[in-house]
Amino acid sequence: MTWETVIGLEVHVQLATASKLFSGASTTFGQAPNSQACAIDLGLPGVLPVLNRKAVDMAIRFGTAIGADITQKTLFARKNYFYPDLPKGYQISQHHGPIVDGGSLDIELKDGSSKTIAIERAHLEEDAGKSLHDDFQGQTGIDLNRAGVPLLEIVSSPSMGSSEEAVAYLKTLHSLVRCLGISDANMQEGSFRCDCNVSVRHQGQPLGTRTETKNVNSFKFVEKAIQYEVQRQITLIESGGKVDQETRLFDPSTGETRVMRSKEDANDYRYFPCPDLLPVHIDDGYIEDIRANLPELPWQTRDRLQKAHQLSRYDATVLTSQTAIGQYFEAIIGYGVTPKLAANWITGELMGMLNKNNLEFQDTPIDAKRFAPLLQRIEDGTISGKIAKNIFETMWNGTDTVDVIIEAKGLKQISDEDAIKAIIQQVLDENSGQLEQYRSGKDKLFGFFIGQVMKLTQGKANPQQLNGLLKKALDT
């Protein structure tokens, strides 16, 4: 019997509104503690919440993009629990009648297949403050700047079967909310946080008991947390134990999850409709207006680019994982660069370098205007791909254009047939022993001769030309 994994994800997306969900205080990240919390965020007696329309619009925008129903009479509820960074002793959230009902996302998997992940709901709620345990020897500080920041909690169905699917779903969701402009989705700053519900079962059996691993804040950690949790549950059951329904925490330093709260300690949240807020009525016209103004969605851009430029599904998916990447790609194409070459360099060198330096795509030090000529110099034969990679590194660390670097370092490719022939002749003359072996059938030595020519030319010989000319010289 094989084990089957069942994963459902709850993602908290901080919405990019200027002010909070129920107050006028600013939502800017990283300000001095408690400098962005007004009387309403502090929960002072007598204050009342007033709903931020922008947050509602953003939720509707998300709902229309995933093909969900927008609840036309949506309700806010209080979720009651005690915690020091929850100033009112309750969170204003949605329980029955969430604003976004249903919908789905298609995800692309590495084997080229795709899968539709149903979304159960998405609802608006206010974020809590932060408890700071590190800076106050033996005491806890409370920063309420985050209290009241609007969140859209997006709840998937339990329909993902592996950590790969879970990460693909998260990445698709991540690129969607950024494309829609409803969140910066910055995972380090906590604007895109994921709770992973995981259970295992034997195929065909009813769902197993699930655990919830809270606040995992990177794709890598989600992958690790799920893999760890699946293995833990299987090992537990196979050794005769049983999984407890509990809330767990992922520890990035060990790659393990550990118990945070057992079922016995679970809160009874005593949800009830928030008496301070009326139901919000959203009419068809309002929804249609928002739907009509949706931008081109990532999967639409992907299909368009794939078709227009004969890209692989994988390249097209990566290129549209962020709006900025797609725009960059299209800008490069605009300079007349071959799409496949542009795709390879953006998904390979450029994104690799960004990853290595922990940079966001839009922070690339090489803009499209400087990047396109590098690829053009490959295409017109001025430099080889290999040399181009060296130049790319120089460009990354400076501000020079490709042509300035080629000129300054003398990296121009040698494409003059006679010049290459002369060097080949020199190499053959200097290595008569190897030449004899080659001619007596040791084909593998072809690479040796290529290497010798490249050594003499410092890698500048045009590789295609060299190939052809060397073959000719060796075989005659």
Partner: protein, 273 residues
Amino acid sequence: MGASAEDCAMLLNAMAGHDTKDSTSVPHEKQDYTKGLEHGIKGLKIGVITNCLKDEGLDPGIKNKIEDAITVLEQLGAIIQPIELPNQHHSVACYYIIAPAEASSNLSRYDGVRFGYRCDNPKSLDDLYQRSRSEGFGDEVKRRIMVGTYVLSSGFYDAYYIKAQKIRQLIKQDYVKAFKKVDILLSPTSPNTALPLERDHHDPNAIYLADKFTIGTNMAGLPGIALPAGLINGLPVGFQLTGNYLDEATLLRVGHQFQQATDWHKAMPAGFE
């Protein structure tokens, strides 16, 4: 709130209007409530809530005073007719589910963390919560927090809170139907005169039941006015008028006209003369 209906009209002028910082406030245009007070009430239809006047908990002395007041209004030209509000007797039970539910949540912020009373030397977070709230709140507040927490708890929510909200709708519909027949409603304010201070500490249910005639108005979200109608053993007696939604003007006009014909609003309780 005021020494006369006219005072109340002036006060309401200062208080009324849409409050953009209160999402439950009705966006209704302001009006001058002192205008029209002098208009008579001839032909105005007043419904007397019969189930209240027949209520066995109503002090017979108070009932007499109210009947006197009805006679005055009749003499002023009002048309009196009986009205039954069949669900009104549920209103106290209903209120003492919904209000404590809200209060239990509203009062959560008094947890000793940011403001309000904090116990000495808390040993842990739970200790801080438990002692701050146990020591800081009085009996009636604690009673309501416990009732409210209970009726919102999982397993009890549908049986109490949801049912109370449904009954609240029935109570409201009774009023809506009544206002199709009459302009305003008349009932006692309190079933008895003021209780001695020390009774507060004994039977909370008896105290809650003193609200039986007024709470329906709150549950339905309607405006009401209580007018003095005499003294019994030196203690004030009043009656209540309930108006249709946003029709405070009619209430104030009837009150003012009543006070033109009577002097009860100038009578002082024993010991306050």
